[in-house]
Amino acid sequence: MDILRFATAGSVDDGKSTLIGRLLFDSKAIFEDQLEAVERTSRDRGTEYTDLSLLTDGLRAEREQGITIDVAYRYFATPKRKFIIADTPGHIQYTRNMVTGASTADLAIILIDARKGVLEQSRRHAFLTTLLRVPHLVLAVNKMDLVDYSEERFNEIHEEFTAFASKLNAPDLTFIPISALNGDNVVTRSENMSWYDGTSLLHHLENVHIASDRNLVDVRFPVQYVIRPQRATDHAFHDYRGYAGQVAGGVLKPGDEVVHLPSGLSTKIASIDTFDGPVAEAYPPMSVTLRLEDDIDISRGDMICRPNNQPAAAQELEAMICWMADGVKLAPRSKLMIKHTTRTARALVRDLHYRLDVNTLHRDESAQSLGLNEIGRVSLRITQPLFVDDYARNRLTGGFILVDEATNGTVGAGMIVEARG
């Protein structure tokens, strides 16, 4: 069985948490004691129906305010797949939590309230999911029960969103009319919308093809940890030296010729080790340990790749940044810590090219800084080379985070668009 990771997105109150509650409930992934607790809480607050959003809105503050503040992770499985759900907040103040949930998603469900249509926050989230390169999008037009299940209204929103999406790099995009509250088209096809001839949301989630979303072409092995068992009880391992890490791209095999960066030295893979014995191949997302034929000085933060397919060794980066700090702004001359794969360095913001208006996608080139939840394109200078690919080619070698050196907070998410040596 494989895993599909998906995230919800969309504006406040569009029904994201209710949808997840409904999906869990109708696929029988809710336990009796959880349901009882939710029924009790709904009753205590005088809600007439069982408020399924309480299944994911688990924090005290969220229940008090009736909104989602941080991502909730939920799990369920059908005979076809295991699902990891990130239910993210719609409120603009918590955009960074939405970004957290969407960064690892294979698919994002963007909800729209059928009465309200495409809002600024719907556009912001749609833009963020495409910026994060979530490979599959579902546009779920929710609360169809409140517009008499109108095909016309659905088509209007379909058209409006399609027009906006044409300006994005929207990959695979599917539209589904639903009622999260009543369950129409969530797990089973709705009888209230006979005009809709697509599948239910769950059916789509079970069948969307995700195997080809990983990069199996460009071999990238960021060295994470060097294993040297000096006090191993077994003397056979006394001279053992292995390079542990998680494969970020491509397929590695024993005997393959590889290049070590930054040295540029070549060698061959002697063996790919795991606790359970050597393996014949390693590919994402496997965590393995490589032994190499030659003794090369290799440490954490280095990269192993193939001779004729190397990442850029870059000290100058062009990247899209999503800024996530409350107080401090990002501006030219800002100095930050950067963490990219297993390497941490310092970064200097050389230039802010533009700030993006997520509503219109207009580029404001006069912008002097990026504030909380703003997105823009910057040039960075790094204190040492990073081994990078374009984010569009590989999310793992193209993404990075920025950390404030004073507060240690994670203040920026970066996606590389162009790297120079």
Partner: protein, 304 residues
């Protein structure tokens, strides 16, 4: 693991993610430790640690917060496992905290040392200067845990601030802290109870005997079966009877309930869990029943 189309099974994906997290901690922190209680989640976590650093030994000590009210089968198992691995075990004792006047023992029928553990844990983290502490908590266990990051920041007082968590993108974890602060790390965040059992079966991992059906003297309280042991304050109106039970979670005897079950093998346990309609904590933990936000409140104070 090998398949022509390079797909990876769910257990392999979860294992690879957990190994990555452990290596990240070993590389970025000075003094990590792994909380090992002898319960199924920490047993799986320990297996992952073995895998992550093989053939080298696990590069950090284990720590157990011992309430003194643990099941003897579990303590025996803990010591045996630690000896087999040649690992270093730090035992932080709630009794010592009581003797030192750091906490006051609860009284009455529902007296439990569960909550007192937080002080013992935080004192031990401070004493040993641990900067990263692995916990076996899973997000599917409880609604507040469902909200927590893999790298969960704790301030000088060991507190969790659920409204102000660090963003956490891709597989990039921010390990930066100041002295006195620490990070709780949850490598099994994305595992479910069923995943844990499937993994125990696949890896043929030994677990304490109390997870399997056995005869035990118990009494009923709040719909839960508690063990009739000296440390559990039973009232005269709570009659003891013998039942065939097993434990779904392993914790302090005073607040961990048994479930009636005849499941005597891992396969039977998996079949039982796949069919159950009650969550693991709902069925067995009195500590979550005190209020709607009981777990969140304890976590804020620095609980596991």
């Amino acid at each position: 693991m090998l398949q022509a189309d390079y797909t990876t099974s769910q257990l392999d994906v979860l294992e690879a993610e957990a190994i990555h997290i452990m290596r990240e901690v070993a590389a970025e922190f000075e003094r990590p430790c792994l909380l090992f209680s002898g319960g199924k989640d920490s047993i799986v976590m320990l297996r992952i640690a073995q895998k992550a650093f093989w053939p080298a030994p696990i590069p950090f000590p284990l720590m157990h917060v011992d309430t003194g009210h643990n099941f003897s089968e579990v303590i025996d198992f803990r010591d045996r496992r630690v000896a087999e691995l040649g690992a270093r075990l730090v035992v932080a004792s709630v009794q010592d905290s009581i003797d030192a006047g750091r906490v006051v023992e609860e009284t009455g029928r529902r007296a439990s040392r569960n909550r007192l553990q937080t002080t013992t844990l935080l004192d031990a983290i401070e004493e040993h200067e641990f900067d990263a502490v692995f916990g076996g908590a899973r997000r599917d266990e409880e609604k507040a845990r469902a909200k927590e990051r893999v790298f969960s920041f704790r301030d000088d007082f060991g507190q969790w601030d659920p409204k102000n968590q660090r963003p956490e993108l891709w597989n990039l974890y921010n390990a930066k802290i100041r002295k006195g602060e620490h990070i709780r790390v949850f490598p099994l965040s994305n595992w479910t109870e069923l995943d844990i059992w499937d993994y125990i079966r696949r890896e043929e991992i030994e677990i304490p005997s109390i997870y399997y059906a056995h005869k035990r003297a118990v009494f009923e309280r709040d719909g839960m079966l508690l063990a009739d042991e000296d440390v559990v304050n039973r009232g005269d109106d709570e009659p003891v009877f013998e039942a065939v039970v097993r434990y779904r979670t392993v914790g302090d005897m005073t607040c961990t309930g048994a479930v009636q079950s005849a499941a005597a093998t891992v396969e039977e346990i998996i079949a039982e869990i796949a069919a159950t309609r009650i969550t693991e904590r709902g069925a067995t933990r009195a500590d979550d029943r005190t209020s709607e936000a009981a777990m969140e409140d304890r976590k804020r104070e620095g609980y596991f």
